[in-house]
């Protein structure tokens, strides 16, 4: 199993297209950081437009590495799944398209084992992509903008999290985001097991993410109760919960999370989705005739 996993990782990182995602992420994050470096004051002004009228806002303190990272994650964590789909959707269908799948399946490895190893490899790639996002969005932002308290704007109010209370929240948020990306990887992987050409699973996954994300972000009461709670894209936003803190007399409580139960619930739902997608993929692939 270990040897098979190594082979899959080797194949992933030998393909030039694997590095597209890493390059795109680095490019976008640097682009955002440059924009905030030179136009950050205006951005913070816009961010705090509701608060400005009653308080004196120290822009230079608000605009720090932690805020930049928060901005980057808000912009990026919707699009990284698409990059994950590029690799996960190619894992089986790409082999079928190349014609190598028939050689793999005729080897003394069970189909279930083959798929599990491939999914593990796709998950490892997803994990590395997340570490890459963390490196660029958090480490680089802290390096360029320094650290200070984190201002988090919400729909109705806002939180200020003290600098010493921020870092662990990012680690937790990244871990949670990893779970979301794993769900997307499992979805794309499932479509990949159905197909003989990688374009289909990748496009289908991207379409599902776009449609579900639109539904998640729609502010229509009918969908709020009937559809949104069941969409995995709704729960993928659960990472934000780590930045919603409890307050006592207007002062935030260090180490607190406003609704931990909701985060745990979202994490369980994502895990169930990922397991479900993977199981369906394996079930289908086990009885599939390899004709490609």
């Amino acid at each position: 199993m270990r040897r098979l996993f190594q082979i899959e990782i080797y194949k992933i990182f030998k393909r030039p297209r694997t590095y597209i995602a890493f390059s795109v992420i680095a490019f976008i994050i640097i682009l955002i950081q440059v924009a905030l470096k030179f136009g950050g004051k205006e951005y913070v002004g816009l961010l705090m437009s509701g608060v400005n009228s009653s308080f004196e806002v120290p822009t230079h303190e608000i605009l720090n590495g932690y805020l930049v990272c928060y901005v980057v994650l808000n912009l990026l964590l919707i699009h990284v799944p698409i990059l994950v789909a590029l690799v996960a959707g190619d894992m089986i269908a790409g082999e079928a398209n190349m014609g190598t799948l028939r050689l793999l399946v005729s080897k003394p490895v069970s189909r279930t084992q083959l798929l599990l190893v491939k999914f593990l490899a796709a998950s490892f790639y997803t994990f590395l992509l997340l570490v890459w996002v963390a490196l660029f969005s958090l480490a680089l932002s802290v390096l360029f903008f320094g650290t200070n308290d984190l201002f988090v704007a919400r729909e109705m109010d806002s939180n200020i999290i003290t600098a010493s209370d921020v870092l662990w929240r990012y680690f937790a948020a990244f871990l949670f985001a990893g779970l979301g990306l794993l769900t997307v990887a499992a979805l794309s992987f499932m479509f990949s097991a159905f197909a003989d050409n990688s374009i289909g699973p990748i496009v289908t996954t991207v379409c599902v993410i776009i449609v579900f994300t639109i539904l998640t972000q729609m502010q229509i009461p009918f969908y709020d109760e009937t559809v949104k709670p069941y969409l995995f894209t709704t729960h993928m936003l659960g990472w934000k919960g780590f930045f919603y803190v409890k307050g006592v007399d207007g002062v935030t409580v260090n180490g607190s999370i406003e609704n931990l139960g909701e985060i745990v619930k979202s994490a369980i739902i994502l895990l169930l989705y990922a397991t479900g997608f993977l199981s369906v993929g394996i079930w289908y692939f086990r009885k599939k005739n390899i004709l490609s």
Binding site: K14, K107, P108
Partner: protein, 302 residues
């Protein structure tokens, strides 16, 4: 001689098309077993079922005396195969491809053996070249190296000569003969290149529309006493007259399509030549036609 493969009543339908229809055959150990049929006859479907790529609707496949469904891993460890084209990872080089597939074969293979295998198929100097730069013949040879690297007892080759130039065909033919004569392997080779199969196969199975139409050793299938011979002379009409007046008249075929065709024992060709020359006919050639081709066409023609 014990049977390496035993297929009984194998069936496979794709929707309403019968791809393989109640097919049974036995492959003896240490032979090159030719599997013949026209395109779409069911050869690839049968091979894919033997390699567990396609699930049969009915029937059993026993390899090395074990049921394929129950002992899939043990059986596949001892099989090397090329299924249609040897499609490989184009973005990797030959050595990397060989390492990957040998690692998946379930047998620990030393690096030296992998390099030796590349040398055996004549690719040692291109070991570090990406597959996308390889010709079809080179890919085919690498495919054979992949099939052989884990030293399997049984080698299954599906159309191994497809798309190859004459030199490539000769290379693959020599490799096949080397495997069986020098290494003692059993080879199951499907092809529609009948003259090639005639050169390499010991036994043959011919299928048509998924059904077996003939099976046996080459000698059993191709009776040398009934070889079609095409005669070309400078005087066609005169030759025909002489043949009809002599004992050769009884061997003339009725349907000659403008050619002089006789069905005789191959060994009597010099005697036929002597008769014509003694009667003053200038003989240009007396050529035995590919008897397997004729036999095959007679079985599979609509």
């Amino acid at each position: 001689m014990s049977a390496v493969i035993q297929v009984n009543n194998l069936c496979k339908d794709f929707h309403d098309i019968k791809a393989v229809d109640d097919l049974s055959f036995t492959v003896p150990e240490g032979e090159v077993y030719g599997f013949l049929g026209q395109n779409g006859a069911g050869k690839s479907t049968t091979i894919r079922m033997m390699l567990t790529l396609i699930h049969p609707d009915a029937g059993t496949i026993t390899i090395f005396g074990m049921d394929l469904q129950k002992h899939r891993k043990e059986i596949l460890k001892q099989i090397g195969a090329i299924i249609e084209r040897p499609d490989l990872y184009k973005y990797l080089d030959a050595l990397e491809n060989l390492r990957i597939f040998s690692a998946m074969s379930g047998v620990k293979i030393p690096e030296k053996k992998i390099l030796d295998q590349l040398a055996m198929v004549g690719l040692a100097d291109r070991a570090k070249s990406k597959i996308k730069t390889y010709s079809q013949g080179m890919k085919q040879r690498l495919g054979i190296a992949i099939a052989l690297v884990h030293d399997p007892k049984l080698i299954i080759l599906d159309e191994p000569m497809n798309g190859l130039d004459p030199q490539g065909i000769a290379d693959v033919r020599n490799l096949i003969l080397h495997c069986t004569r020098d290494l003692g392997k059993t080879l199951f080779v499907s092809s529609h290149l009948l003259n090639e199969m005639e050169l390499i196969a010991d036994s043959m199975l011919i299928i048509n529309k998924g059904k077996k139409v003939a099976e046996g050793t080459k000698e059993e299938l191709l009776n040398p006493l009934k070889t079609q011979v095409e005669l070309i002379t400078t005087d066609k009409q005169g030759s025909l007259e002489i043949l009809k007046q002599t004992i050769w008249g009884q061997f003339l075929l009725s349907n000659m399509n403008g050619h002089i065709l006789l069905e005789i024992d191959k060994l009597r060709i010099p005697e036929l030549n002597r008769t014509l020359v003694e009667k003053g006919i200038q003989v240009i050639s007396i050529r035995p036609k590919h008897s397997l081709e004729d036999f095959f066409l007679s079985l599979t023609r609509q």
